[in-house]
Symmetry: C2
Subunit: 385 residues, 2 copies
């Protein structure tokens, strides 16, 4: 396999982008990434998107977007793994470059979620669960994660306040990110008094519905050094694993097996351990998710995840800053885009371009992007050269 | 890149499979492929599926199917390029093995189309067109291909009867394929008197709505020779290209640019020319499609495609048998499965296992799978070792 580097990143402000079509937000970020990389062409592209079918009535998305980017007839592939679609796109782009099949590959993630009403959005997202055994019986994602939260509180003594601290931390980080959908702080009291969604999860425990895109440019590491004067970031670890997509099929609903397996694979490939990671962007679709994820990745002992945000362990300035970007909670969660945006943030940090939220001296970053209630996970480890 | 071989194939009878769920038809074919390969595990899997979202209300399909196959927590990825999703899955599986990232990879395609009504199926399929500029204005795929047919007839003198000969040939082949949805012959008169769908295309010019799946097992060529006693088939050419997904954006609606580009790339990689190909499985979603495809692939001069089926050039026993399986027309067209089933047929032929439809002495086969009205195309060249 050839070594693979990230040489360009692009992202625009996320939010309710009613004046832009899906193709517009994709093209904006793709052009930013191409410009950042300083390349004049791309050889191939990947698009991570969960369900443009249900949000905007469009499949065959990659061909459409290659055309609108003015890059046809290049190969263009859309990949999907629910909310891990962006992370999957990064893996597939990595493989295409690693195999030597293409040199300069655009990897993007995009989702346009606010063109439909709330009921339709909830239905669209529910297709990431097992529809025949979960969705058609009325369970939606806040309900599934609420069950995980209740089980974690029951088994490990995690408190309602500790869940709130995850949201408070990520909004504190997000307030430093001008591209975040909700760049403002919230308080523990604010979270605890926000409207109930699925007991114990309140609205400020939940990531929002977002329109957004993100893009990165990959190329062989050797070539990267000739193309850009910016610090080159190498993808040193790629982990991908699955779990049952139905929550009830698991031995323990507080353990994210796919994240643990994908993390192990990425650590092994990169020759790293959890303690070697300087910062991480993880999939905090709900506050409880971040708690379970940092346990599965080995950043904290199983059952102790609830203490991490409260103690400052995972805050900017802490031992392992998690979601310096604001995470899904404050930055927003355009589902197919999230996994790519995580890589954008890590590259910014490793290049020292993260401004007020910069993690000083960051050399090794990790992204963790998962689908559904953890039925699929992609983990990437990135290192500045 | 490592050389990649196909060591297992699996397919069941296609049709209106109302007694089976999507996950059932996937598992049946995947187990057949695993059994045929003689392997006891797989390292990773790809699923090509166009729109399980709109046909069965399910995204996150690859994780679900890995679980139902009993193969979790292996990596599992769903890829989509409309009706070329199966071909795209083959490419992505190829890249994963070629890169050295995984050894034994299951590549499957699946679509369950008959659980919805005709209007819903037509809408689901229309998402492969440009929804904002085509679909939402009422154009559906029979209409788009009808315009291509009218243009071909006008420009090149292709006749209504020549279109019919494509259906007659493919049904004659399909009658020899026990897994085909419609394994019976039709006549030119029968096609010409069948119900009109979109002038000049009649119902017997159109591929059907089908439930079905297909699967293949890929591995490194070196390993193939140690795993199986069957003839080993190597993937020697992989071509992938895109075109506008909106028909009106093209210079010439009778020319399939993505197919031409993907064909060129595959020929170059394999070191082959059109005249080196012993047989081909191509994307005859409508009779006019096969005519345009064989021109784009260089099997016949531009504008002469209409004569091929009538003259016997593309029939079993002809110079370049096309769609010996019956093609999409007679075998059926479960959209995401088609590209994988094409590879299944070519491997059967190259192994000499195609029974009454065997192309004698076949050594080199080609598959061509396209999305929408030609907005994406995957071409693979396979050779028996």
């Amino acid at each position: 396999m050839r070594d693979v580097a990230v040489i360009g990143i692009g992202m625009t402000k996320w939010g309710e982008l009613w004046d832009k079509a899906l193709r517009d937000i994709f093209v904006e970020t793709a052009l930013l990434a191409i410009d950042d990389a300083g390349v004049d062409h791309i050889d191939s592209m990947y698009v991570g998107c969960m369900t443009s079918a249900l949000f905007v009535g469009q499949e065959h998305l990659a061909s459409q977007l290659a055309d609108y980017l003015g890059m046809g007839p290049i190969p263009a592939a859309r990949v999907e793994s629910a909310c891990a679609s962006g992370g999957l796109a990064v893996k597939q782009g990595f493989l295409e470059v690693a195999a030597g099949f293409s040199d300069i590959v655009l990897v993007s993630g995009v989702e346009k979620m606010t063109d439909v009403g709330g009921d339709q959005a909830t239905y669209a997202l529910s297709t990431a669960a097992d529809q025949e055994y979960e969705g058609f019986h009325g369970v939606t994602f806040p309900g599934l994660y609420a069950m995980m939260a209740r089980a974690h509180m029951h088994t490990y003594g995690t408190t309602r306040e500790q869940l709130a601290h995850v949201a408070v931390k990520n909004h504190r980080h997000g307030a430093l990110n001008p591209l975040a959908q909700y760049p403002f702080e919230v308080t523990v009291e604010g979270v605890l008094s926000s409207v109930m969604v699925a007991d114990p999860l309140r609205i400020l425990d939940c990531s929002p519905i977002t329109d957004g895109a993100a893009a990165v440019i990959l190329c062989p590491l050797d070539m990267a050094k000739t193309l850009t004067d910016k610090p080159v970031v190498k993808i040193t670890g790629v982990g991908h694993a699955t779990d049952t997509i139905a929550l009830h099929s698991r031995d323990d609903v507080t353990t994210l097996n796919a994240t643990a397996k994908a993390g192990e694979a990425a650590y092994q490939m990169a020759g790293k351990k959890p303690e070697d990671i300087d910062l991480a962007e993880v999939h905090d679709c709900f506050t409880i998710a971040e708690i379970c994820v940092i346990e599965a990745l080995g950043f904290i002992e199983k059952g102790k995840g609830g203490t991490a945000a409260e103690s400052g362990l995972t805050a900017l300035g802490g031992k392992i800053p998690v979601n310096a970007s604001g995470g899904l909670k404050a930055k927003g969660h355009p589902v197919g885009a999230t996994g790519v945006a995580q890589v954008v943030e890590i590259v910014k940090q490793l290049r020292g371009e993260a401004d007020k939220r910069q993690v000083e001296g960051a050399r090794v970053g990790l992204t963790q992007n998962m689908g559904g209630s953890g039925g699929s996970t992609l983990v990437h480890i990135l290192e500045v050269q």
